[in-house]
Symmetry: C2
Subunit: 269 residues, 2 copies
């Protein structure tokens, strides 16, 4: 990968890091990268380091032929697909730890998750040395973690954040949506419905995070299969102090879904 | 710095990271970098993150004019001298943690030291993006830590290790030697004398690390001002299991000196 990109001295390089199982969200990231750079690299790597014990590493979908077909169609210039044994050989112990912004919410619910994300992203950044890297707003805290490390480590890489892509009923597209049963899938639309309702309340003048959180909880708890992990309205700068970024994590059976919306922004569409 | 090196697309770039107070050891690193690359960058940054509480950050020597004079004479292509506030602005929380090889010896005696080293080296690597980086064998465990992170993070940067430069009486050159009183300076030669004696014992067939360590201790403890922090003969691969790399850390008054030698190698000169 490094040899390839080191030949691209006259180019700008956009990197789209993925775990494969590509969907419309990834497509929008690649299209954005395509529009902003002369070369586009997509990495596909299901990163074991960002999965906790008991999470879905083993069953995570890996439809590699379909993924490559989509990337061919999108005319990407290179696909980087390292093996786990190449990324984490025996004795590789270095980790990138981002600190405060990685600690609450997803960081608290998934110990080690953001250490895994930060480490693999730093490795991908070195392997590709892109000018820009593209991430989806759906993983809002991941975006904050990646921005933090890209700045703190002086990478010089611009982090471009793309809007969440949603299904017609509002569900944020995710590789994990395939796990949902038809009934779970129907009830999962409650996450975006709740965020949309809170956006309306905010637009109507409601600013109390506790009230906004309760409103979101009420909508989601209206679905009998939903088990809320957290609902928090936080400052998008630190993910700790109260603010307008409403973030939710909800389980449906064995599937954990996340979504978020900055309530100060209009609901899209 | 990034703008400068990004223009050097046809060059190979060698980086010599330093904390300034340049001496003959640094000179040898720069000469080696000069011989192996078409561009040479020297960084000067007294990195607060690698000093513990109660260590010598405030009094660390900063003879910047003399340093720049030496680097002019050595015809380096760029000197990178970031400010502390640029390297660690408010809110910069990301750290690089190297793991096992950073934990014993210097890592145990100086909590946080190698986290500070690994973090600043990763930042310097991103800012300069060199082909090769040069470090002195005098800081043997630092070399192991830097090699580990350079490989683990897929930097593609070759770590070149240069031999320890010594004074006529054997004392390893160090920016901290200026702290020594004349009597401490005289007694400090016991570190290299002890390592040299252990090298002779090893050449004579002695392989027991405990015996070699005792021999080293005995020589150093012959000096009344010496206070041993540690003496350990370790495997240079992990700095934990016993092996032929003899490492010592000794205090003379408020000054802490380190030295090392692979006893399986002849004493130089």
């Amino acid at each position: 990968m490094r040899e390839q990109t080191s030949e691209w001295t006259e180019d700008t390089v956009g990197l789209v890091p993925t775990m494969g199982a590509l969907h419309a969200g990834h497509r929008s990231l690649v299209e954005r990268a395509r529009a902003g750079n002369t070369k586009v690299v997509v990495s596909i790597f299901v990163n074991p380091l960002q999965f906790g014990a008991g999470e879905d590493l083993a069953r995570y979908p890996r439809p590699i032929e379909e993924d490559l077909e989509m990337l061919r169609e999108l005319r990407v210039d290179a696909v980087y697909m390292p093996r786990v044994s190449d990324m984490y050989p025996e004795g590789a112990t270095t980790r990138v730890v981002v600190g405060a912004v990685a600690e609450p919410l997803e960081g608290a619910s998934r110990p080690g998750h953001f250490e895994g994300v930060a480490t693999v992203v730093t490795k991908l950044f070195w392997a590709v040395r892109p000018d820009r890297a593209y991430f989806g707003q759906k993983d809002a805290q991941q975006v904050a973690v990646v921005k933090r490390l890209a700045a703190d480590l002086d990478t010089g890489i611009e982090i471009v954040v793309c809007p969440t892509v949603r299904e017609p009923d509002g569900l944020a597209v995710s590789s994990r949506n395939v796990y949902l049963s038809p009934e779970e899938r129907r009830q999962a639309a409650s996450l975006s419905r709740a965020l949309r309702a809170a956006t309306s309340a905010y637009a109507g003048g409601e600013r109390d995070p506790a009230v906004l959180e309760a409103l979101i909880r009420n909508v989601i708890e209206g679905e009998p299969l939903a088990r809320i992990d957290y609902v928090k309205a936080v400052d998008p700068g630190n993910f700790t102090s109260p603010g307008s970024l409403a973030t939710v994590a909800v389980r449906f059976g064995g599937t954990r879904l996340i979504d978020n919306h900055d309530l100060a922004q209009p609901w899209p569409g």
